[in-house]
């Protein structure tokens, strides 16, 4: 009996026993559903980490020169963490020589941030994230204003008291008002609002829009740069290939400035998105493994269910098997018939499970901060897993069917 005949026969059999078939494929369906949901969520998280979270925090093709790493998603021990605190800081006077050494076409911006108190006439006082930046900051971060304008080169040079505020800040301090031209007090110092930034979105439920950005040399410098300390210098290379080159240039300048001997390690950090992501990649593997435990259990149960139901089916259809053999079915015809039946059933269950898994993942991503990505390869994975379960579960019942003695089988019932 050729394959397509067997598959047609399998579907006819499923149609005849719809409820029984449904219960048979329930286990595989649930197992695959969880598998797809886990894969979607974990891979969605991976994409999210890469593109949104880290990608937003660390701009494209860039690294940040800092005293120590900022994004603490690494597994660092206490001793190392303590050693970081003893490092020299980055200072305002380090910036010009470093920038001078960069490759042509490279953009660079210093920034420092801190929580400061903010006040306006219209909203209760509150703390905001204040950033003091140099003029290429907005370009590097691909941040633009939805309202108003960015600071001008003169304003950067003079340290004028102008500020660009985030959407949350506008909503809280200037509800239903046009904030442009109005004043907001940052750490007691009055600033004129010249722009409202585009919304930056949120990650894991935390909004990114509760910030204010002002020129680095403006009065807020006293809060953000005590003793001339700068939090970071972002260096954005024109191409991915240029990152290493710029890293070397910066390293050379900083090591000279810190008077490091060749055998001493760097006492500063150049943080790239890769290093920030390294730890995520590691736990991603563990997450996937742990997340597969649940579907694996579902699939094992599904396989056992299928095997048992197929054994019952073979017992109930013994006479039918006898008839087929009497009419000329060879052992392999009967084997194929039942194996195809169990595999078709399991694959059908897996297909439904894939659809449900995507639905499940979408629901989770809609109701929680967890993101979910629909990956095409996981469809193939789910269906293959289903087919595999069907084959493994069906082998024993199918071979029992194939080995039946036709004379005895015909006597049944």
């Amino acid at each position: 009996m050729p394959f397509y005949e067997a598959i047609r026969l399998a579907f006819a059999q499923i149609r005849v026993q719809k409820l029984k078939s449904f219960f048979t494929l329930l286990g595989v369906m649930i197992g695959v559903m969880f598998l797809i949901a886990v894969v979607s969520i974990v891979s969605g998280m991976g994409n999210y980490m890469k593109d949104e979270l880290v990608g937003k925090l660390i701009a494209l093709n860039s690294f940040e020169l800092r005293q120590r790493p900022n994004l603490n998603i690494g597994d660092v021990n206490e001793a190392e963490r303590r050693s970081w605190r003893t490092r020299p800081r980055i200072y305002e006077y380090d910036i010009p020589p470093v920038v001078a050494a960069l490759a042509p076409g490279t953009l660079a911006a210093e920034y420092s941030s801190n929580n400061v108190s903010a006040e306006s006439q219209y909203g209760t006082p509150r703390r905001v994230n204040a950033y003091g930046v140099s003029d290429q900051y907005f370009t590097i971060k691909r941040m633009d204003v939805a309202l108003g304008r960015l600071p001008s080169p003169t304003e950067y040079a003079l340290g004028s008291s102008v500020v660009v505020i985030g959407k949350d800040v506008q909503d809280h301090f200037f509800p239903n008002l046009d904030p442009l031209g109005r004043q907001i007090k940052l750490a007691g110092m009055p600033y004129t609002i010249i722009g409202v930034a585009e919304t930056q979105g949120s990650a894991f439920g935390m909004s990114f829009d509760g910030f204010v950005v002002a020129p680095a040399r403006s009065p807020i410098r006293r809060q953000l740069n005590p003793h001339g300390v700068v939090d970071a210098l972002i260096v954005q290379s024109p191409t991915e290939a240029g990152i290493n080159d710029n890293e070397e240039r910066v390293r050379e300048v900083m090591r000279a400035r810190h008077q490091l001997h060749p055998e001493q390690k760097d006492d500063f950090t150049m943080e790239t998105s890769d290093s920030a992501l390294a730890f995520w990649k590691k736990i991603q593997g563990y997450l996937v493994l742990a997340g597969i435990a649940l579907p694996a259990i579902g699939l094992v149960v599904g396989a056992i269910v299928i095997m048992n139901i197929m054994l019952v089916a073979v017992a109930e259809r013994t006479r039918e098997i006898g008839i087929r053999k009497a009419l000329g079915a060879r052992r392999r015809d009967i084997l194929r018939q039942f194996l195809v039946e169990s595999t078709t059933l399991a694959t059908l269950g897996a297909a439904i499970g894939v659809a449900m898994g995507f639905g499940f993942a979408k629901i989770i991503s809609a109701l929680s901060p967890l993101p979910a990505a629909v990956e095409l390869w996981s469809v193939l994975l789910g269906v293959s897993v289903g087919a595999g379960v069907g084959i493994i579960a069906g082998v024993y019942p199918a071979s029992r069917a194939a080995l039946l003695d036709p004379i005895a089988a015909l006597r049944q019932e």
Binding site: G328, R330, P406
Partner: protein, 264 residues
């Protein structure tokens, strides 16, 4: 019992005796079935049951033979051997000039598909398939494509006057109709022999006569028919009756001699 004109037998006693006593020689094409010394023993937990103790039978093409015997005579076992559902413990079974008694399971399956048409007492149709699909089944296992299958199945159903009921399921058919479907199925692959096991056992007497008429028509048109039964009435419809007793052939003669002997 209906009147049949006495006809010249297809094979004579002398010819048959000659062909069964040539062990190792392939019989010539006149003979569809030749068995030489067929024995079939079963080991039932230490005790040996000898169902067949040395059966010699020769059946020529176009013969209409009944194999009769009481329960325990071995007729079912002989039918299973002839039908290639079972392999003899010893002895030769030649089907159409091929030595079948030593074939593998797969080869036997192929022979069943191509050479044997079974008709069972309990019809043995697939309950959830239509009449047409039931008749197509041997062709499925013969590897025939869907269009050709449909055509040949329809022709077979026409032959038994059931083409109007092709799409009915067995539970929508009467007993007589079901058996006709079974006969159509048995004929669809143009087998060498039609092997019927108590085909009227589950039918009332009127329907039984109908079905026996079908077999008569098939036999007249050239089909080799072997009918296994324990009822003398039914056996008398065939042109030759072989009587088995205790695993051996007791008598083997023409219908007229048989009916005379048992006083019908």
């Amino acid at each position: 019992m209906s009147q049949h004109a006495a006809e010249a037998p297809v094979s004579s006693t002398a010819e048959r005796a000659a062909v069964v006593s040539q062990p190792g020689n392939a019989p010539d094409s006149k003979w569809v079935i030749v068995t030489r010394g067929i024995q079939r023993h079963y080991d039932m937990g230490g005790e040996i049951v000898r169902a067949l103790r040395g059966v010699d039978i020769a059946i020529a093409r176009n013969e209409y033979v009944a194999i009769m015997g009481p329960s325990g005579s071995g007729k079912s076992t002989l039918m299973n051997v002839i039908g290639c559902l079972d392999t003899p413990t010893s002895g030769e079974y030649w089907l159409n000039g091929t030595l079948v008694s030593e074939m593998s399971d797969d080869e036997l399956a192929r022979i069943r598909n191509k050479e044997i048409g079974f008709v069972f007492q309990t019809f043995n149709l697939l309950p959830r398939a239509t009449a047409l699909h039931n008749v197509e089944l041997p062709l499925v296992y013969a590897g025939i494509g869907a269009d050709e299958r449909r055509k040949r199945a329809k022709e077979a159903l026409e032959r038994v006057q059931l083409d109007g009921r092709m799409d009915h399921r067995p539970n929508e058919l009467s007993g007589g109709q079901r058996q006709r479907v079974a006969i159509a199925r048995a004929l669809v692959n143009r087998p060498s022999i039609l092997l019927a096991d108590e085909p009227t056992g589950n039918l009332d007497s009127a329907t039984s006569e109908e079905i026996m008429k079908v077999f008569e028509e098939l036999a007249t048109s050239g089909q080799t028919v072997i009918m296994v039964t324990h009822e003398p009435d039914i056996a008398a419809h065939a042109r030759r009756v072989v009587v088995l007793r205790d695993g051996l052939v007791a008598t083997d003669d023409r219908r007229e001699a048989f009916t005379e002997r048992i006083g019908m």
